[in-house]
């Protein structure tokens, strides 16, 4: 049977939420991933050192073992250099949200002004703290990422030593930026490698595939697939796995977010295998991230095998239920074991 061994797979963009949902989803990531960059968009946002440390502690308790490293982030605000020095060792990055652009981003930045934000961004640059960005304007839904490219360009030029991660990119326009500026990097989600707007709204309307940024056109997906499959050194896997309760997701007027983490490695193995690029998955899932973030891989090893696996209709804990992408569908790869178990 065909297998692949992944060393220290990392999810470089993950929403673990809090409370019951945290307890439900954290173990689903920690069972297959060695670590993840944890998004700070809680209510209220994670914007103090205490909030970072307390949230990290809640995550570690929800996981209950030491097989998973939560790499913490701060919610971007104008921070002083003194504060950033004090928090530096507790975080891996700072995440910037334009105000109101997605779930729990109301406290984000109203205007991304390279002059006004210079004190914070220069300090981050000097302290080597990466800046992760949700790169969308508040324009027409299909144009929001493309319109944001000029903001990425201004930031890349104004802060050439700052590592800027274009999070969950969805367009060929963002892909093009990778080779244009040395300090621009990107995460790519599982779902944006797989779906287009046609899957969300081309047939029936599919709330479980509704996300922000919204899935785009075929040529955009193709551009993402190309750099992922070749494991372009500036791209990393970041699931943006974003659980919402089943009842909320399936009700009228649902929020954006696709829940992928429990099946991300399996589907990625299937996708890379189908495209005859399975040899590049290790770089996409770990090595590139280690280089970009100056991280050391852990000793965690995951073995996947080419064997059918039926995705559960939902995952639950207590009163909380969450529906994964591909619920009830069969995928061609499965987890064999991890760390010898």
């Amino acid at each position: 049977m065909q297998t692949i061994t992944l060393n220290s797979p990392f999810d470089m963009h993950l929403h673990l939420r809090d409370n019951e949902m945290l307890e439900l989803v954290a173990p689903l990531s920690s069972s297959t991933f060695a670590g993840a960059i944890i998004m700070p968009n809680l209510v209220p946002p994670v914007d103090t050192k205490e909030a970072v440390l307390e949230y990290k502690d809640r995550i570690l308790r929800a996981i209950g073992n030491d097989q998973f490293s939560p790499f913490m982030t701060l919610f971007f605000k104008p921070y002083s250099k003194e504060f950033l020095e004090s928090v530096k060792d507790s975080i891996s990055a700072i995440k910037l949200y334009p105000a109101g652009i997605t779930t729990n981003s109301e406290g984000g930045v109203e205007s991304i002004d390279t002059v006004a934000l210079a004190p914070t961004l220069n300090a981050m640059s000097e302290l080597n703290i990466p800046l992760c960005i949700h790169g969308e304007t508040n324009g027409f839904v299909m144009d929001r990422e493309k319109e944001f490219m000029s903001v990425y360009e201004s930031l890349a030029i104004a802060f050439p030593k700052l590592k800027i991660i274009m999070e969950h990119i969805t367009t060929k326009d963002a892909v093009r930026m990778l080779d244009k500026y040395d300090n621009l990097y990107a995460t790519i989600t599982l779902h944006h490698l797989l779906i287009t707007l046609d899957d969300v709204a081309g047939g029936m309307l599919k709330p479980h595939l509704f996300c922000k940024p919204i899935a785009k056109r075929y040529e955009d997906r193709e551009a993402l697939q190309k750099v992922a499959l070749e494991a372009h050194p500036k791209v990393m896997f970041g699931s943006d796995s974003a659980p919402h309760p089943k009842h909320a997701k399936e009700n009228c007027g649902c929020a954006a977010g696709v829940f992928t983490s429990p099946i991300a490695l399996q589907v990625l193995a299937e996708f890379f295998d189908k495209n005859n690029k399975i040899e590049n998955l290790q770089k996409f899932i770990s090595n590139n991230a280690c280089k970009i973030y100056n991280m050391k891989p852990s000793s965690k090893i995951i073995v996947l095998e080419k064997k059918e696996f039926k995705v559960p209709s939902y995952y639950e804990k207590g009163d909380e239920k969450v529906v994964p992408i591909y619920a009830n569908e069969t995928i061609q790869w499965n987890i064999r074991n991890y760390n010898g178990k």
Copy 2:
């Protein structure tokens, strides 16, 4: 108080469904409209003279009065001239669906080939039966109507005496066709005058605004608004009001269709008034249609007044519930009375 009197308002594209749903929605159209072009996409489709007459009879019974004329249509198939002569006086148009393009269209046309379809289309042309078309390809959801323009062009050129109605147009590309070919006409829905894809999927996901063709860009909506507000002589109001049961619409994987008929006149009055074009509403809602379809207006008169009206959260009959556009919202115009009542 500001009022407007509408003579014989017509809805030139309406789905009345069948059975309980028909009984629920038919009276909601017949109370304010003088008549409507009734879509034939039942299961099975309305494609015989008997089916036309029986469906018309069920509609009249559901309405229970003579204040509303159901203008019947046939589901397009290759029909003989003899058959079309026999059914001519019972129908107002024939509706063509590309196969599988929307709700109950599985029996539609696989390929719109002007040679293969010539016998039927020539006969329709000679008998002066208009051809209504759901103009979408099976391409990317945002491009489907635009890609269909070449089909409209081929048909308009090949059958210059055939009246071709581009149904529920959503793009500036379709608007442009109106002045390019004498024999191309269009209906415009209420919702496509009001919403863009941003309303469907730009914030939360809104199943009650999910329709086919999907709502497009701002510049498309602007082009539609322009020809509607000026009552361009080749455009008519056609609601495409398409009820789906509340539970189905609000469940996972819902079908396309916006239910607008009970509040269409009120919202149109508000929209035309807000744009200082209320004097053109009569043409958009009736006169243009009468000229295009060679129809006589009825004696039905509807008086609307500028007075707040709260849209119900749903309409129901028996076990059937259906949610209208703008449920629970307040609009600025209301029906004062009809025919002196």
